[in-house]
Structure formats: C-alpha cells, structure tokens
C-alpha cells in the first residue's frame, strides 16, 4: 500500500529514485538541487540500497560518470540545476546518442548572468535539442510519480533514451507537501530490473561512443530523431499502466476546465497550480477560461496540442525563459509552429512570466486572461510580452 506522508519534494525525488533501486548515483550538488544530492548520498551511505554514490568534481563529470556507469548496464540517477545543467550541456547529446537510459532530476533555476538562484526554465530550454525525453512536474506527487515513470520509459526496449524530470527550484524542491509514496513492492512490480541492449564488459567486448563522419552521421541523426518521436507511444502506455496500478492519470497536455473554454492558457511546471486557481476565479466571473498544463516537452505532443486547442479563440502561452532576439519564449515559438498548418487556430499570445523567481500570483494570471478577453482577436503589436516588466 502507498503511504501518505509529508515530505520535502527534493527529498521525495531522491526517495523515488531509491524505490527504483538505482545502482549508481553520480551527482554534484548545486542550489536548489542540493537536497536531492544530499539525500541520494544519505540513502547510499546508510546502506538502504545496494548502490554506489560517485562524488564527482563537476556536473560535466557527473554526466560523464553517469554515462560510463549506464554503459555497464547499471541503473543510474543524477540531478542538477541551472549552471550545472549548462555545464553538462556538452555531454547531454552524447548520452542520448549512445541511448543510455539515465534519469536526471532538474531543479529548474534561472541561469546567470546576472547570478540568480531562483526558479524559471532558462536552464532546461537550451537543452531542448539534446535528444532527451523531457517531463515537467506540477507538484510533489508528480515529481515522485515521474521519477519512477522515467526509469520505466527510459529503459523500455523501444525507447532506451535518457529522461529528465523538471522540478521548479524552491517552489517545488523546497516545499514540504503531503503526497503518496508508493510501496516498494508495487514499484518492483511496475519496474522490472533493467535489461540493457549492450553493455561494456570484458567477456563480450563492444565499442560505444564511436566515430561517424559525413558518410553515416545523417543516418545516425535520423535514427535518433525517430527514437524520440517513437518514444511517445511508450510514454503514453507507461502512463496508462501507472494509472491502472497507482490510480493517478498522466497526459502530455492536461486540461483543466477546458469544456467550453474560449480562452486557454498554457503553463508548464508548478505555476499550473496557481493558474488553476485563477481559472476558477475567472469562471466565477463568467469568463470562459481554461488551462492546459504541458507535462511532456520532448517528444513534443503535436497531436495532443492540436486537439486541446480546438474550438478555442485565444491561446495564451506562458514562457519561463526567453529566446533572445527570437520569437519570444521557446514554448510559444514551438506552439505557433505546431499550429501553423491547422485550418483554424486560436490567436496566440505569448506572456513571458516568472523570470528569475518573480512571483506569479492568482491575480496576475487573472489579469493576463482578462486582458486577452478584452482584446479578443485583435492582433497585438508585439509577438510577446515580458509580463509585469517595469517600463518607463
């Protein structure tokens, strides 16, 4: 039986990895991920599971060690944030190209400069094209569930790709939440031991991480893209199985009060909870607003997005990062491109919100929606807006 407990979410993320009986954790601590690192280290030091904790000297080394361990057939977990993730960037596409099913918890935090330790999504967005499966958790329960689901998805024979679970720094990582911790026996039934496709072992030598020039690189990239695209089917199947076993449903894009909604707002991560309260308030005022919470960022849920926005007049896409000199926020850029071919599509408004930990309250989300309701289909002058920016 699952147990209902009150627990800090960062600690819960590490506990979830322990329920998955990881073999190796290679982690370098960084705010606000540090409690994940510390707790993984505690779990190993206390001998609670038979695992190694590799104390690395940097995040680049953390990912490199994780890859080496994964290549031997070990189940590997790591975690990072912000500058650490940026430092890891060089190795991320190698992990996915080598099809190593590493699971990484990311405590999302703004990137420097200027130095800022608070939450936004500017660390994960530059990793978008690394070939990792990317999940976004909204609350502590989703963090626990996704950490466990991540191993099953990553290790699936038809996937074999690394997965990152995005957890808003502080807003989620440092929150003590009541949540259901699945039982070890249930997790064991859900997650069988990892059966690797190939391993580094002297008894049967293989080469990994090899050389491929212009005569074959294109084919390798096509195969990698196909792996990402095809992984969606497995992700959906794993989420179905999760719902059956644990009773909690997951979708690439979760709708909240979308029935009859003319104005939809799209969020990723923990702000979905605040935005949902705003939607309730707006509905009370008779404004037909609804919320779309995107949980799956890579592979991008094209079909689900098209279906979700059908019938809506306006779609407000919130972004927690900036593509400087580009289309605004990276999420809005992708949403616009995904809907471009649709015969009818909503007007798209891009609000860049909550940068570097700037608070977004219920009334802020309400203001955004009410402004959009008033403007109707009238085209805005700017393709995007830094919500709440102090202007002269």
């Amino acid at each position: 039986m699952s147990k209902r407990i009150g627990i800090e979410v960062a600690v819960a993320a590490a506990e979830a990895a322990a329920l998955c009986r990881f073999d190796v954790a290679a982690v370098y601590p960084i705010t606000p991920q540090s409690h994940v690192a510390e707790h993984l280290s505690n779990i190993v030091a206390d001998g609670r599971i038979d695992a190694e904790f590799i104390t690395v000297e940097s995040e680049h080394s953390a990912m490199s060690a994780a890859m080496g361990a994964s290549a031997t057939g070990a189940r590997v977990v790591t975690a990072t944030s912000s500058q650490g993730l940026m430092y890891m960037h060089e190795v991320l596409p190698i992990a996915s190209a080598m099809r190593l099913p590493i699971v990484m918890a990311i405590a999302n935090r703004a990137v420097s400069g200027p130095l800022n330790i608070l939450n936004d999504h500017s660390d994960i967005m530059p990793q978008r094209d690394s070939g990792w499966i990317s999940l976004f958790a909204e609350n502590g329960q989703e963090v626990v569930d996704m950490m466990i689901q991540a191993f099953k998805i990553a290790e699936h024979r038809d996937v074999q790709l690394p997965v990152n679970v995005n957890i808003d720094g502080f807003q989620l990582t440092h929150m003590v939440e009541p949540l259901e911790m699945p039982d070890q026996k249930e997790v064991d039934k859900f997650l069988p031991p990892y059966k690797p496709y190939a391993t580094l072992h002297p008894d049967k030598p293989v080469s990994m991480g090899t050389f491929a020039m212009n005569d074959v690189y294109t084919e390798v990239m096509k195969a990698k893209d196909a792996a990402l695209v095809n992984s969606k089917e497995v992700i959906l199947a794993v989420w179905k199985e999760w719902e059956k076993r644990f009773g909690r449903a997951y979708e690439p894009i979760e709708g909240y009060r979308v029935k009859g909604a003319e104005i939809l707002m799209l969020t990723m991560g923990s702000m979905g909870e605040t935005a949902a309260v705003a939607i309730d308030e707006l509905r009370k005022k008779g404004i037909p607003a609804g919320l779309l919470k995107m949980k799956l960022w890579r592979p991008f849920p094209f079909d689900e997005l098209k279906k979700a926005v059908k019938g809506a007049k306006t779609l407000i896409v919130t972004d927690r990062a900036v593509s400087f000199g580009g289309p605004g926020g990276p999420v809005a850029g992708e949403v616009r491109s995904a809907l471009y071919d649709q015969p009818t599509r909503p007007a798209i408004i891009n609000e860049i919100i909550g940068l570097g930990g700037r608070d977004m309250m219920v009334e802020h989300f309400m203001e955004i929606v009410m402004k959009a309701a008033k403007a109707g289909r009238k085209k805005r002058k700017e393709a995007y807006e830094f919500y709440g920016v102090r202007e002269a």
């Binding site: 190209a97 099809r99 080469s207 990994m208 050389f211 195969a223």
Partner: protein
C-alpha cells in the same frame, strides 16, 4: 581486410551506434584524407626506426630487409615522419 561496411539505411543503424565487432576501426581508411605521401630513400636511411616510433597513425612498419614503409591505407600524410627523420631519408610528395 574486411570491406568497409556502412549501415545501408538509418533503420539499420545499431542502437546507440554500438559496434559489436572488435577491431572494426581498421575498416576506416584514413589514407583518403592524405594530400601528400611520404617516400623513402633507403640509400639515406640508417634503419634507426624513429619514423616507426613517431608516426601518430602507427602505420609505418619494418620490412624483412630492415627498411621502413607506410601503409598508405592509413597514412594521413601528416609529414611527422619526414620532419623527424634526421638523415632526411623521407620526402613528402604531392599525391598524383
């Protein structure tokens, strides 16, 4: 020498590019990168073996007569052997 074998299509790319056959790097003939090739003048050669030691490709070998030559399947034409051979027995010659 096994013939160079690329996957015919992307569907045939081994997952993660794992190579199950040891020694397959030998299939890749780096000699195609070469613009100049080393040519030995054995009259000047004193059989010191320095060229054999310094070749970064490891493609120089000693013949039964004690003189040295490069395997042109792998020689990249870097010219290090020529530069290091102190009796100046090796010359770099443009590829024809």
């Amino acid at each position: 020498m096994a013939a160079k074998k690329w996957p015919e299509n992307w569907q045939n790319v081994n997952r993660g590019c794992v190579v199950f056959r040891p020694g397959s790097a030998g299939d890749y003939h780096t000699g195609s990168w070469r613009a100049q090739q080393p040519v030995w003048d054995n009259v000047k050669c004193i059989k010191c073996g320095l060229c054999y030691i310094v070749c970064p490709e490891g493609c120089i070998s000693e013949g039964s007569d004690g003189y040295y030559s490069a395997d042109l399947d792998y020689c990249k034409g870097c010219g290090i052997c020529t530069h290091e051979c102190w009796p100046r027995a090796i010359k770099m010659v443009e590829e024809g």
